[in-house]
Amino acid sequence: MPPTKDEIYAKIRTALVDALGVDEDEVTPDSTLVGDLGAESIDFLDIVFRLEKAFQIEIPRAELFPEDILTNAQFVQDGKVTATGVAELKKRMPFADLSNFEANPLVQEFGNLLTVNDMCRYVASKVGSTS
């Protein structure tokens, strides 16, 4: 039976506490991994590894971080992701809430996009959670 949303959230919170050395109460659904929880690039390897173990899933990096879009001139102009690029990001990252990013789609802000909630939705989509 797939895990419930609460179980997914609890496991993700544990992974973030262990990987980032933050307190449990610092992790909220709206926390951004980079801005609020202080994740650095190497931490994503750690987080992904812990989530793969916790949920017995595989997480291809390109699914969580479609960086190829950000380095593609077709989707980026003057340091900003174009409307076509944002549409492509939405297609590739259906689990992520891109509304804030869309208002000011600076490439340099992309790393600060993911929230704990986004991670929960992503994992739910991988494990088929419905409740």
Partner: protein, 180 residues
């Protein structure tokens, strides 16, 4: 500069795990002063030894083409101290190898006793402004030979490890250079 914190490999299984030893000596400069009246192997150097063994396990998987660096120690637990005259046995397991990094789980034992455990993350440097190699290839190969990596190492099929041609070529080239 000499900065070896393993003495040699006892086992090396490509892409899987490796076992290395470090015998602690009072003549190790860093140990004699830590502490003068009660010399101990510094815990940070035990992590370094695990990282050297684990880093070589990772580097070998990628043919020593990448610049593999220790990027994060996400967990390290020390159960007992290690003193001059004792031999630490480090076992490192490659848990995850990704395009941008790797995770290694390591443990250190004193005889049958678990001495320390650590989880190590390695990154692959992308900065093109840095030199292509962290070590001169010929020096690297000499170091690997000193560690007995190619004496005990096995590939995925249990065959002796092959030495990357690039390292062999560098060694040949260095051996042919006239002495200055």
């Amino acid at each position: 500069m000499r900065w070896f914190w393993i003495d040699r490999f006892l086992a090396f299984h490509r892409g899987s795990h490796a076992v290395a030893v470090k015998t602690i000596s009072l003549s190790d400069h860093e140990i004699a002063d830590h502490f003068p009246a009660y010399p101990l192997m510094p815990s940070s150097l035990i992590v370094e030894g695990l990282a050297q063994a684990g880093g070589l396990l990772v580097s070998d998987c990628r043919g020593f083409r990448d610049r593999v660096v220790l990027a994060k120690v996400s967990r390290a637990v020390f159960h007992r101290v290690a003193r001059p005259g004792e031999t630490l046995t480090y076992t490192v397991h490659l848990e995850s190898l990704q395009p941008d990094g790797a995770m290694v789980r390591g443990e250190s034992r004193l005889g049958e006793h678990l001495q320390a455990e650590a989880e190590l993350y390695f990154g692959f440097l992308e900065d093109r402004a840095l030199p292509r190699d962290l070590f001169e290839p010929a020096d690297l190969l000499r170091m690997l030979r000193v560690f007995a990596m190619y004496d005990v190492g096995q590939d995925e099929q249990g065959r002796p490890l092959d030495i990357p041609p690039r390292l062999l070529a560098a060694e040949r080239s260095q051996n042919q250079m006239p002495a200055v």
